[in-house]
């Protein structure tokens, strides 16, 4: 699959995730992300053998191996992961809003790359 086609599929899936994301429900948000990853597997963009046990958005972007420029995309992906993964305690609403903003910036960067 060529780079542009892969990027377009990823942008579509993450866009769908951003639309469905519910900042009041971290568990549902994680399930929705995994649903989009499932779709990327089904479309042949990701391999199940590559999936680490604790899956992060950063891992997904790395696995795509798209050689994306810095452009803040990694900062935003890592910030998203830092906020959304909680150890025992739930991320608050403010943190979830921050995660949503990071996601929007990631999608924007990927969309620019896909042009």
């Amino acid at each position: 699959m060529n780079r542009k086609k892969t990027l377009k599929i990823v942008v579509d899936e993450l866009g769908q995730f951003a639309d469905d994301m519910d900042i009041s429900d971290p568990e549902w948000t994680q399930i929705l992300l995994n649903q989009r990853i499932s779709s990327l597997i089904k479309k042949g963009v990701l391999e199940t053998s590559e999936l680490p046990r604790k899956l992060r958005l950063t891992d997904i972007l790395e696995m795509l191996d798209l050689e994306m420029p810095d452009g803040g995309i990694w900062d935003n992906a890592e910030r998203f992961d830092d906020v959304i993964r909680s150890y025992g305690e739930e991320p608050d609403r403010e943190s979830m809003e921050e995660a949503r903003d990071c996601l929007a910036k990631i999608i924007e960067s990927l969309r620019d790359e896909a042009k």
Partner: protein, 202 residues
């Protein structure tokens, strides 16, 4: 190349957080000696606010003010660390003050209810690799709730797995506990069938 560059920067950020911390504690599977090749090193720092979740390292921070608050001292994580944590720096004078609160139990119950209800809605759209992960996740969360309700600190996941494997009456108790949650009975039946039929251990 960009990825590598960023990972290096992340490590630098993690080092800053570790250097500035008053206390530094390793907890989870590494602290107890049950880690495997996929395990992250879980670290708690008492100091400036940091939250870093990277492959290989999960670092969280609690401020010196919050470490003695009743909310922290009653939490699942505080009680876990007080029992299983290994202090690399600092003395952890607060650890004797931890006492699991009713809130910790309620937070866990609410999390399970939301998780199970979400899974019921999305199950058919999730790849089988996630089915396996969520069976494990829900079962471990039920085990954690069971321990929290008895005011017992929760051990790392690998130890929960060995409890589950080794005792049929324990499994029955976990199933009964799940029936006390506020989950639609059809959804609950579905999830319990998934867990009990599961061969997913880790």
């Amino acid at each position: 190349m960009h990825v590598i560059k960023h990972r290096v920067n992340s490590v630098g950020m993690s080092c800053d957080a570790l250097l500035l911390a008053q206390e530094l504690i390793v907890f989870g599977s590494y602290a107890v000696g049950v880690s495997d090749s996929d395990s992250d090193i879980d670290v708690l720092t008492v100091g400036p606010h940091t939250r870093i979740a990277r492959s290989g390292l999960d670092l969280i921070s609690v401020s010196p003010e919050r470490i003695r608050s009743s909310e922290w001292l009653g939490s699942e994580l505080a009680s876990h660390i007080s029992v299983y944590g290994v202090w690399i720096r600092g003395e952890g004078s607060w650890k004797e003050l931890t006492a699991l609160s009713k809130r910790a139990e309620l937070v866990k119950a609410r999390r399970i209810e939301r998780l199970v209800s979400g899974l019921q809605k999305a199950w058919s759209r999730l790849h089988p690799v996630f089915h396996c992960r969520y069976r494990l996740s829900v079962r471990r969360e039920l085990q954690r709730l069971d321990l929290l309700s008895q005011k017992i600190a929760v051990p790392p996941g690998a130890i929960l797995d060995s409890y589950w494997r080794n005792c049929a009456t324990y499994q029955k108790r976990i199933v009964e506990l799940s029936e006390s949650l506020n989950i639609d009975s059809r959804v609950l039946r579905f999830v319990l069938q998934q867990i009990l039929a599961s061969q997913c251990i880790s």
